[in-house]
């Protein structure tokens, strides 16, 4: 049994590819059906955000599992081939896969470390898996733990504070160009997390109008609904530029989507009314040469970070603390997962029974005093027979059921019935996890539903 993850993110794949892999809500059921139909896949979770597409799975054999997940991803879009996809994929198994999920959930793998949405997105992905009954004993435990690690990193480090302040810096900067944002129109290009966060801050300031454009028009429509704005066809980006005062660019495209000429034209059409542009992505989407255009003010993510003025060292320290918290949690969950193999469980069960048997025999021999070898053998034989007969049923069931869909549930049950686990792994965890699922991941700034 292996826990594996196969996926790609903002570092490994261009946005065009990530967008192709995005599964629309309406087609999610079909996708899960397809995913769970692969024979080796026992449990699975699909995590799709703007910056990443990942499939987590519990499989019989890692090698096979990776091939099946790859097949699943390739089949997501008709125009994809495995040659397109392969160079962009990363894959991890077991403790590395768990560590990856924990890091993602703790926002350590995000483009802007500490951004708050990812935790909500992991939660949504998990709920999706629950809805489609693709999550089982192992993913339930691991994902819930990932969410709790993410939450604890947010509360115990100042990592999140920083991301919020970076996106808020966009508002602060905008206010140095425009004293009153209420009269201003905003254009959001793309759907990157930080872009949406910055746009949300601006909307909270009561901007007059919001335009949204995206290469995928459905996403633009969805975001337009969320921000009460207007979706604009991506091809018409250029002709909308002069209408807006503020542009937030967060497409994640590997090239410039707004050129110096675009902005020169726009400022010219605006009769030199200033424009304020935020380029929140890496690599940049707005040609840095735009800064040479009079009355156009462009700021990238580094400028926002500089505006926040937070100490680089302090930030690194926070991230390090978070990484340490993640590592510790990974160790304990990996120990739990290891225990779920059938063979070690049976071995542990037999050892426990043997220990009890030996202990009891010693006691009885001490109490009875001198016994003949024959008598000793008879008593030992009796004890062994009882133990073996009692264990026979559970062991056979464990062996046969371990291969079934619910195998881990049986193993987990056996470990609990026979108290085969170290206490600390269990200690009150069920209760904590209950709390987590009912508790909405706290996000002061953004609504939870974020399908993108």
């Amino acid at each position: 049994m292996n826990i594996i993850v196969l996926g790609l993110n903002h570092r490994t794949a261009p946005v065009e590819l990530r967008e192709l892999l995005a599964i629309q809500d309406s087609r999610m059921g079909e996708a899960f059906g397809r995913l769970m139909a692969y024979p080796g896949i026992k449990e699975a979770m699909y995590l799709g955000t703007c910056n990443r597409v990942e499939v987590y799975a519990v499989v019989d054999k890692g090698e096979w599992g990776f091939r099946q997940l790859e097949d699943f991803l390739v089949a997501t879009h008709f125009s994809l081939s495995s040659e397109d996809l392969l160079p962009h994929l990363y894959h991890y198994s077991d403790d590395k896969a768990i560590a990856h999920l924990f890091r993602v959930s703790a926002s350590l793998d995000s483009m802007v470390v500490g951004e708050p949405q990812i935790l909500g997105q992991v939660k949504e992905a998990y709920e999706l898996a629950l809805t489609h009954r693709s999550s089982g004993v192992i993913l339930n435990k691991v994902v819930k733990k990932a969410i709790s690690v993410g939450k604890s990193v947010r509360t115990n480090t100042r990592i999140g504070e920083y991301a919020v302040s970076v996106s808020y810096a966009a508002v602060e900067l905008a206010k140095k160009v425009f004293s009153n944002l209420k009269q201003r129109a905003v254009l959001l290009v793309g759907a990157g997390e930080m872009g949406k966060l910055a746009a949300q801050h601006l909307v909270n300031q009561g901007v007059k109008e919001v335009f949204i454009t995206n290469r995928n028009h459905h996403r633009a429509l969805a975001l337009a609904e969320r921000f009460h704005g207007h979706a604009v066809p991506y091809e018409q980006l250029g002709c909308h530029l002069p209408k807006v005062d503020i542009v937030i660019c967060a497409t994640g495209a590997p090239h410039y989507v707004i050129s110096k000429e675009d902005i020169e034209d726009a400022v010219h059409h605006r009769m030199n009314r200033p424009m304020f542009l935020i380029d929140i992505t890496v690599p940049r989407n707005i040609d840095p040469a735009v800064r040479d255009v009079d009355n156009a003010y462009v700021f990238d993510i580094d400028d926002l970070k500089a505006h926040v003025g937070q100490n680089q060292e302090e930030r690194l320290k926070e991230a390090e603390t978070a990484e340490r918290m993640v590592r510790e949690e990974v160790e304990s969950i990996v120990a739990w997962v290891r225990g779920l193999e059938a063979t070690p469980t049976i071995v542990a069960l037999r050892k426990k029974a043997e220990d009890i048997k030996q202990g009891e025999l010693e006691k009885i021999f001490n109490r009875l005093g001198e016994l003949s070898p024959k008598e000793r053998a008879a008593i030992e034989g009796l004890a062994s027979a009882i133990v073996n007969k009692l264990l026979h049923g559970p062991v056979v069931t464990l062996k046969s059921e371990a291969q079934s869909q619910n195998g881990f549930a049986f193993i987990e049950a056996a470990r609990r019935f026979f108290e085969l686990q170290e206490r600390e792994i269990h200690s009150g965890e069920a209760q904590i996890l209950e709390d987590e699922t009912s508790d909405v991941v706290s996000e002061e700034t953004l609504p939870q539903k974020d399908g993108v």
């Binding site: 206010k175 140095k176 160009v177 425009f178 004293s179 010219h268 030199n272 009314r273 200033p274």
Partner: protein
């Protein structure tokens, strides 16, 4: 007594200027409060000086170069106190106060004139007052333009320093620039017209083509172009800021010219 008061005024404006300049580079808000206090007291004693002069001469003291510069300084400080306090923009003081202080200094340095010359005709008095009020408008536009250029540079070079945080937003400065010119331009227009009428009444011709008149007309044409350019070809924002800085430099040159040339009371245009 008036001398003591005018020196007190100058001292307070000087203190205000220094403190406001210091305030530009320090995070402390206390400095601005102290400099506001100094400026307020200075304005109070300045007003008292003007009233005393009016009482002693029987007319508003504006007919000599000295008086004109003093009135100019008084008007600037008044504008600062009105705009700065209303908007919480103490930073304006760092730009307006030095200007007011320098005007007062130049008034002191100006050769002493007979200060009891009553205007021959009411029109001359009106002409001078209107011209100075118009110039105050251009001075504020200049200050707004200067601040605009500074803030623009800071934003472009991404220097988020104390000055950046203290300077107001660009669009506020641009609109202050525009409104100041909109305030100054009609006054200058009326000032020139009343000047021409006075000239007609005193020397019998509307226009005598002396250097002051030519400069005044150039100034008028320049600011007219600035106002029109904004509406027609987009001379706003950075361009407007530079234009008003250049324009006001012209205005100052005119003043200096008058000061150097005329060691005599302001002659009607």
């Amino acid at each position: 007594m008036p001398e003591i008061l005018s020196y007190l005024t100058m001292g307070l404006y000087f203190g205000g200027t220094l403190l406001f300049l210091l305030y530009l580079w320090h995070r402390s808000e206390v400095i601005s409060k102290i400099s506001l206090l100094a400026t307020g007291l200075g304005f109070f004693s300045h007003t008292a000086t003007l009233i005393m002069a009016m009482v002693s001469t029987g007319h508003f003291p504006i007919m000599t170069f000295k008086d004109a510069m003093s009135f100019f300084a008084w008007g600037l400080v008044l504008v600062f106190l009105m705009v700065g306090l209303k908007r919480g923009l103490e930073v304006l003081g760092a730009f307006i106060l030095p200007l007011a202080f320098l005007s007062l200094v130049s008034a002191t340095l100006a050769p002493h004139e007979a200060d009891s010359i009553a205007p021959v005709f009411q029109t001359v008095w009106v002409h001078v007052t209107l011209s100075i009020l118009g110039t105050i408008g251009f001075a504020v536009a200049f200050v707004a333009g200067l601040m605009y250029v500074m803030q623009e540079r800071l934003l472009k070079s991404k220097q988020f320093n104390v000055l950046y945080f203290k300077l107001p937003p660009l669009d506020f400065l641009d609109s202050l620039n525009q409104r100041s010119i909109l305030f100054g331009f009609p006054l200058l227009t009326l000032g020139i017209l009343t000047g021409a009428v006075s000239a007609q009444l005193t020397i019998g011709s509307y226009l005598s083509w002396n250097s002051e008149q030519i400069w005044a007309l150039i100034t008028w044409v320049f600011y007219f172009a600035v106002l029109m350019g904004r509406v027609t070809v987009g001379w706003r924002a950075k361009k407007a800021a530079y234009l008003t800085i250049v324009g006001f430099a012209g205005v100052i040159l005119t003043f200096v010219g008058i000061l150097l040339k005329n060691h005599q009371p302001l002659s009607p245009l």
